[in-house]
Amino acid sequence: MTIHLSIILFMPLAAGVIGAFLPGRSGRWLVLAATVGVLAYVIVMLADFDRGRAGLQYVTNDRWIPELGIRYQLGVDGLNLFMLALTAISWVPCTLWACFRELDRQRLFLFNLALAETAVMGAFMAQDLALFIVFFDLMLVPFYFLIGGWGTGERVRATTKFVIYTLSGSLLMLAGAVALGVLATPDGGQISFSLAVLQERGVPDGTQNWIVLLFAVAFFVKAPLFPLHGWIPETYRSTPIPVLALLSGVLSKVGVYGFLRIVLPVMPDGSLHWQELFIVIAVFSILYGSVLAFSQDNVRMVVAYSSIAQLGFITLGIFAFEQKGAQGAVLQMLNHGLVVVPLFLIIGAIAARARGSESVLELGGMAFRAPVLAALFLLATFATLAMPGSSNFVGEILILFGTFEDKLVYGLVASVGVILAAVYMIRVFQRTMHNRVGPAVESHDLGGLDLATIAPLVALIVALGVYPQFVVSRTDAATTAKIQPARQAAAAGQTAARAEAP
Amino acid sequence: MDVVWFLILSAFIFCIGAAGVLTRRNPLVILLCLELMLNAGNLSLIAFARMWGDGGGQVFALIVMVIAACEVVIGLGIIVAMYRARLPIDVDEMSELRG
């Protein structure tokens, strides 16, 4: 039992609260220091992490609401280690951005950011289903205020849509979680929401099916995948850039992470039941997201729809029920976050050089006066389209290999998405950085702040491209363990089918 | 005396009060009728208290009277404010909370 995770978890929130009451502009330093502190803590954890072990490390397990069997249970394994790292890494540049820009109500903005970090960290760390749901819904609160308070354009409509979508997903998940906890409790036993206990107890096959569906809706909305991505266009358009980077880079991962953490281990039969459907949804999301990204004029929306495609890949890898696929999905969760955050910050920089315009029709030719920006954008672009040599490529090839194994046709269809990704990402790069100078463009190179926020992330992308095994070696054991129940269920299903056949 | 008679009286007063609330449009009268209903309740509380021979019912009656006093204070305050603002003293005219 250690307190480390609780420190990481509540450090940002504490700093946010105190910072909100500090006079003048000194509060921002406190919040910034807290995010950097979290990052430092996570880096130490990465170094200290026992990579061979599949089980949880740094566990905290305490009573919270004993009447309902809800425990304050945190832990880290290979599955969420890099999600925590991603959160810690992404929050630093975004907080930095918010600290040194002219923002009205800056302290409130920073408080919301800090609260959001705590909530996201909590959702990734939680090992108790009820605790997970608490943090999952807590994430919504700061983002509601961040989008509604500092957004642009039709922000009211955007926030409404965002909240209704995610909240209805969350409610369905809550219902599913309660049902799961109750149905899993044996007669006379004490109810428990601890994931380990739930996995041990299990629920009957038929019941699993609809509970999985309830969870899936919540996670698909969060991801988002087709057809539950309706909140994307408005929300992405009005969200301020650093918030959007976090929304797309980190928050979207909570959903797919939930599949691996909760759905697959606890309800393997139910997952198997819907496997085909979810794979179809994933593949369709890949194609649909790519095609739409291809036809967008707004740079932000291209990245938005490309995220749908990327999350489709991740979901595909998870539901391939194959070690390589799941491993690829875990790797890709990290990779996608790491490319999307700098991409959105770059888009912010682009808009700043084009009188706020983000339409490729008005952009172009920026590279000449902003070579550093162009170089960073180029690297991020190559990583996003999963060019071999990037870590994204390793993630994608593992996902594809895992899918080919049993679901060859779906894998082949999904690989079309790889080609389309090349088209739309290069197109965006070209039409902003290359070609003739666009009508709205007044280009100049990156300033110190932009460079400090973007360049380290891009450097990290390059480093991971050289040595992806750094991630894979730490996630491998846990990922394999998490999909084991589902693989067994799948194997049992095949044996049964074979026994029936003759 | 049998407790039934008290209850019959209480019910009778309650109905008068309820009918007043439902039919009258002057807020002052509605307030009066509300008082009637509350006191009808008080009557049955005290009657039951007597029947059982303990003080519980009487305590409740006292609480109800306190609450009634508060209510009258607020209600009269609102009515005075309406007079001041020269609004019509008619509850049917005050339907701005319509959905």
Binding site: Q296, Q327, L378, I397 | A18
Partner: protein
């Protein structure tokens, strides 16, 4: 140092150059970035020689050394190390690549001088060389794919180097996407091989291929065809060739390096490297040979009519790679790779000559506007002439030995391969013709104004204009602008062209039938397990082939001489006589139009449908709208109850309490 240590060094130098130039671009003055880049490639070439020496010292059956730096990614049966394979084939490729690259770097030092993107250019160029070397040194499929994609990316960056040109960026994206299609083909092929052989290392796959697959096993044939998709996309073979002519938008040295000498021949290298697979799946090898032949004839016909000087050479490249693909597909590995080497020399030379001419023309690339440069640019003329002779396969030049060796091997296989060989000779005839069409039209005839000016000591200047679209350039970016650099005046260019010209002549003597056999002998250890290792044609048969090739080439040159020198105008007559044929060839057999109609437009339409119909009507309309309507219906009912009348509320309250009381009464009784 061992051979693999040299292998790592080969890779390390270009990376060092890339890092130094890209991090120091603000401070490196003048031509220094160019010289740094050239030096790094030179060192890489020296390291290649080191590896060559080391590997020659090993016994011939141990000349394949693998070294692994670290585990790149490993999960389940997917085990990939960052490892390199040093064997005769990879050393041969390294020497050709780094050697030719070095000369082109030196040429570029002068050629690109007045360009604003000087440092960027050399950073890209070093990145390219690193990628290409990684590709040839890779010891497993994943590293191969990485190198494969890296060269594609470098090619993209250099094609759209002058990025303010719409045509350049368009050509860049085309090349990039075609290359990605090839990458995906390779990825799927790698999966099929991993699935059946349980390994991604060359050694593991090749070792298991004989017992994992029966001969012509369907899976293996499919895997080989997918490898061919990768190879053909990179090597611009039918039907994935359309990007290469457009790639000529890049600076001319880039065309020489990437789109002639090295990168585009990677497909040939790949087929040679995968020979154990192709020999186990002869169907795939035959398909490859047929496509190679079809490409070489097709591209040669187009080269007859195109009037853009660089595009003529580009189509010639496609055609020559067809010969190489034919060679390695019919198991003439030594011959195919020999042609790869000689082609690298003479094609790079031709491009350099063309670059010099284009500079002299002030950026104009149209053959119709050129002429009579023989006197004003004697050095360029000689160099270009040597290159053209080698390309045409005139006897005693390098192309003669290499190309006709490929064809001799093909004929020697007998059966249907004879047909392919005959088409090969037809292609050779066309090649000789268009090679000298360029020579006669550029260097002979009456000097054009630019040539006259040059004779007077001035270089022509035009307003910078895009040679393809004719629109005026955005001069901010800097095209070879105020200062043109032509080979006659700048010594680095002269040196590079001189060395290549010498190589284009003597390169062929490495492998003269019956005399010596250096290339094949050096490569033999790599191909020792080939089934066709002893199938080489006899010396006599090879000489017969050379003689036939020589006759064909001389015929072609003679026809060109007649058409462009003796009876000028005969080509115009032909054009007017067969306008349809001319148009057909001029439109490059309408491949671009076909792809536009079949892929590009449907994709765009699909995107539009997705955005308007699916997104607007289905997602926003049905799903979002449906949810809103359900919520809306619920709220309108709730609103109807809220009348705002206190009495109504009171009544409802009363009814509710009464109802409850009634319920309890009934329930209790």
């Amino acid at each position: 140092m061992s051979a693999t240590d040299y292998g790592w060094l080969i890779l390390a130098f270009p990376v060092a150059g890339l890092l130094v130039i890209s991090l120091g671009w603000r401070v490196l003055p003048g031509r220094l970035p160019g010289w740094i880049a050239s030096a790094m490639i030179g060192l890489s070439f020296l390291a290649g020689i080191g590896a060559f020496v080391q590997i020659q010292d090993l016994p011939s059956d141990e000349r394949a050394v693998v070294a692994s730096a670290f585990t790149y990614a490993s999960t389940g049966d997917f085990k990939v190390d960052l490892s390199i394979l040093v064997d005769p084939l990879s050393v041969f490729m390294c020497l050709v690549v780094s050697g030719v690259s070095f000369l082109i770097h030196v040429y570029s030092v002068a050629y690109m001088t007045s360009d604003r993107g000087y440092s960027r250019y050399f950073a890209y160029l070093n990145y390219f060389v690193f990628s290409m070397l990684l590709l040839v040194l890779a010891a497993n499929f994943v590293i191969l794919i990485i190198g494969w994609a890296f060269v594609g990316a470098a090619s993209y960056l250099l094609i759209s180097f002058w990025y303010r040109r719409g045509t350049a960026t368009h050509a860049g994206i085309k090349a990039f996407v075609m290359n990605v299609i090839g990458d995906v083909g390779l990825v799927i092929a790698a999966f099929l091989l991993l699935d059946k052989t349980g390994s991604l290392d060359y050694s593991g796959v090749f070792g298991a291929v004989d017992h994992a697959f029966s001969r012509n096993d369907t899976t293996l044939v499919i895997a080989c065809l997918l490898i061919l998709v990768g190879a053909f996309a990179k090597s611009a073979q039918l039907p994935l060739h359309t990007w290469l002519p457009d790639a000529m938008e890049g600076p001319t040295p880039v065309s020489a390096l990437i789109h002639a000498a090295t990168m585009v021949t990677a497909g040939v290298y790949l087929i040679a490297r995968m020979y154990p697979l192709f020999e186990q799946a002869p169907t795939a090898a035959d398909i490859s040979a047929i496509i190679g032949t079809a490409t070489l004839v097709f591209a040669a016909t187009v080269a007859l009519v195109v009037t853009d000087l660089k595009r003529v050479i580009a189509y010639s490249t496609i055609s020559q790679i067809g010969y190489m693909v034919l060679g390695v597909s019919v198991a003439a590995y030594g011959a195919g790779l020999f042609h790869l080497m000689t082609h690298a020399f003479f094609k790079a030379l031709l491009f350099m000559g063309a670059g010099s001419v284009i500079s002299a023309m002030g950026g104009v690339q149209d053959l119709d506007r050129m002429g009579g440069f023989r006197k004003s640019m004697p050095f360029t003329f000689v160099a270009f002439l040597v290159g053209a002779c080698a390309l045409a396969g005139l006897p005693l030049f390098s192309g003669w030995f290499s190309k006709d060796e490929v064809l001799a091997f093909t004929l020697n296989r007998g059966g249907g391969y004879v047909v392919l060989g005959i088409f090969g000779y037809l292609g050779a005839l066309l090649t000789a013709f268009y090679a000298f069409r360029m020579v006669f039209r550029v260097f002979f005839g009456d000097p054009v104004p630019e040539a006259r000016e040059l004779e007077g000591g001035h270089i022509a200047h035009h307003d910078p204009a895009n040679p393809m679209s004719g629109e005026s350039e955005d001069v901010d970016v800097g095209f070879p602008g105020e200062e043109h650099h032509i080979a006659e005046r700048d010594w680095p260019m002269k040196v590079a062209m001189g060395v290549l010209a010498v190589l284009a002549v003597i390169g062929g003597y490495l492998q003269v039938p019956g005399v010596d056999d250096a290339v094949s002998k050096f490569l033999d250890p790599t191909f020792e397990s080939s089934r066709f290792i002893d199938d080489a044609p006899s010396t006599a048969a090879q000489w017969v082939g050379l003689a036939m090739g020589g006759v064909v080439a001389i015929t072609g040159v003679t026809v060109a001489f007649v058409a462009y020198r003796r009876r000028r105008g005969v080509t115009l007559e032909l054009r007017d006589r067969f306008p349809r044929l001319h148009n057909f060839l001029l439109h490059k057999w309408y491949f671009d139009e076909l792809y536009d109609a079949v892929f590009v437009r449907p994709a765009a339409t699909l995107g539009k449908i997705g955005r308007t119909v699916v997104e607007a009507d289905f997602v926003q309309g049905t799903i979002v709208g449906g949810a809103t309507r359900i919520v809306g219906a619920g709220t309108s009912f709730a609103r109807a109850i809220q009348t705002g009348y206190v009495r109504a509320y009171a009544l409802l309250l009363l009814l509710g309490v009464g109802g409850l009381a009634l319920y309890f009464l009934i329930a209790s009784s």
